[in-house]
Amino acid sequence: MAKQLHIFVENKPGRLRAITDNLQKVGINIRAFAIQDRGDYGLMKLIVSNPEQAHLSLADMGCACALKDVLAVSIPDRPGNLHRLLSVLVDGGINIVDAHGFVLQPNQQGICILEIENLAQTNAEQVVRKAGFDVLGNDQLNNL
């Protein structure tokens, strides 16, 4: 299962930079990121080259952060594919808490990072695989 790093950040100038500064010093590569804005605070969500090491490095700095299991789904970058993925999840009664996506050039591969409600208690991975999507683990994400 792919790991995403979630970091609690106050909504004030310079906070995100403090995090990227810490990670670049330990040689972590940020593959993708998203920010969930909650008004006075936000959650920074990172897909990184080495999630465990990044987690430890930020925790050492005193950050409130946690590693979360997420579903990383590979979808070819073509019209209708995200819709198809979402339909599969809805039909399977699986709820998305938060999601973000990115497209890798040059092979036009779309990656969708899905936070699933109570992921461990669902069969989300099987449902998605059964519909013909690739679900990526950490190593695969790192080697993209």
């Binding site: 979630h6 609690f8 950040v9 106050e10 906070r15 969930q36 909650r38 006075d40 605070y41 959650l43 925790a59 005193g62 950050c63 409130a64 952060c65 946690a66 590693l67 979360k68 808490v97 938060d98």
Partner: protein, 436 residues
């Protein structure tokens, strides 16, 4: 000037007569105090074993001060002098921790407190034809009920509106032609800022007077209220431990507050040394309640800073006037008329496992009202990575604080280590409200 008295003999009695009355009543209070677990230990320790050991008013100063902490340590019944079957009412107020302070009133005590309240109301010129909208909160807080009883005794028509719901308050004022308000100054200013929204003009209302209290305010604030509403605003002083409002009240001359000396012995002390300060100097107000027997309270340190006027008042009352409250000698916060201590907030937030080491209490003005913001740090090890956890935590902190301090502050969660640390002289309270 329309000078009215509720009890002219007592209100205009010469000083000797008042002092004589104080001595008689003090002896009687000593007799009651000796029946309480608390004073029955404390008074004999300074050689007072019966009322006869008090020969002059100076003997009062042999009695040690009673502190808010004494009330806390003797909660709930350590200062009760009678069986609860004799008690007809209790009130509580915030303590420095989760333990509140409580007062008990017998039927006779309540009657005496009501009479003093009636005297206060009458001193402002208010009477039977007036309509009082009582906008202080009813319930455990003394502000609502004690005023209510006093106003009924004078014969005003009382609208027990209590606090909140500004729109309904204005409707009540309009529909029932309210002439007198009992309200905190900040709420009254807030109401003014809302009138246009409700399509009501000051001239549509029948207001003539406001009794303002429960929070410190400047002369400028009073003038502003008077000009905005075209009314007379009278300062009121009281505290729950002394039966609430009506300890001291302004007369029609609005030149500081007559402290009813037949009901309370007032001393002004240096809060550091405990010594009396010379007449007219600022210090901490220390009060002895002479009209409450179910729960005697002697030389109670109010922590309010004020001074006594020595010059007589034109109204003919001989009871000395207490200045408006100039500050506090402790760290009590007054937020929209509600009293609380930073230690109460600390006690609540530090018990929550997801909260980190540091917190900060911020008080600011939001229009005319006060706004309380409690800032806490998230404890990094308890973070699960979910926004839902953070939002639940914020509402949990808000609910638990409301249970302790009765109002719900805004809660801000901060990153670990981002608030000033406990070590050294961290500023725990940041109060940016304009100084009086």
């Amino acid at each position: 000037m329309d000078i009215r008295y509720w009890n002219k003999d007592v209100e205009t009695a010469d000083v000797q007569k008042i002092r004589h009355l104080q001595l008689q009543r003090l002896k009687s209070i000593i007799a009651s105090a000796l029946k309480t677990p608390f004073y029955s230990r404390r008074l004999p320790s300074v050689g007072i074993n019966s009322p006869d050991d008090i020969k002059t008013l100076d003997d009062l100063r042999r009695i040690p001060f009673t502190m808010k902490d004494d009330l806390r340590q003797n909660y709930p019944k350590g200062l009760l002098s009678v069986d609860t079957s004799e008690v007809v009412r209790i009130h509580t107020s915030s303590g420095t921790t989760g333990i509140p302070t409580v007062i008990y009133l017998s039927a006779k005590d309540l009657d005496a407190a009501t009479d003093i309240m009636a005297r206060s109301i009458t001193a402002t010129g208010a009477g039977r034809t007036d309509i009082l909208q009582n906008m202080m909160s009813y319930g455990l807080f003394t502000g609502g009920l004690c005023m209510h009883y006093g106003a009924e005794r004078v014969g005003l028509m009382v609208i027990p509106a209590a606090g909140g719901n500004t729109k309904r308050q204005v409707s009540l004022m309009n529909d029932f032609r309210t002439t007198v308000l009992h309200i905190t100054p900040s709420y009254l200013l807030h109401i003014h800022s809302k009138l246009a929204e409700y399509g009501v003009k000051v001239g549509d209302l029948a207001l003539k007077k406001a009794f303002i209290g429960a929070e410190p305010h400047s002369e400028g604030t009073r003038r502003k209220i008077e000009e905005l509403f075209k009314i007379d605003a009278y300062n009121s002083y009281g505290l729950s431990e002394m039966n609430g409002p009506g300890v001291a009240f302004e007369c029609v001359y609005k030149n500081d507050l007559h402290l009813w000396e037949d009901a309370y012995i007032v001393e002004i002390i240096n809060p550091k040394t405990g010594q009396l300060v010379p007449d007219g100097q600022e210090g901490e107000v220390v009060l002895t309640n002479l009209i409450r027997h179910a729960m005697p309270l002697m030389r109670y340190r109010t922590r309010d800073l004020a001074f006594l006027h020595i010059e007589p008042c034109k109204c003919g009352r001989t009871h000395r006037r207490l200045s408006r409250i100039l500050g506090r000698s402790d760290d009590m916060l007054i937020i929209n008329g509600v009293n609380m201590f930073p230690s109460q907030i600390e006690e609540v937030v530090m018990k929550i496992p997801e909260v980190g080491n540091n917190y900060q209490i911020c008080v600011e003005k939001d229009g005319a009202l006060d706004r309380l913001i409690v800032k806490v740090e998230l404890y990094s090890k308890m973070f699960l990575g979910e926004a839902k956890q953070i939002d639940n935590l914020k509402s949990k902190i808000g609910e638990e604080l409301k249970a302790s301090i009765t109002i719900k502050p805004a809660i801000e969660l901060h990153e670990p280590g981002s608030l000033p640390a406990f070590e050294g002289k961290a500023v725990r309270v940041v109060d940016t409200r304009p100084k009086l």
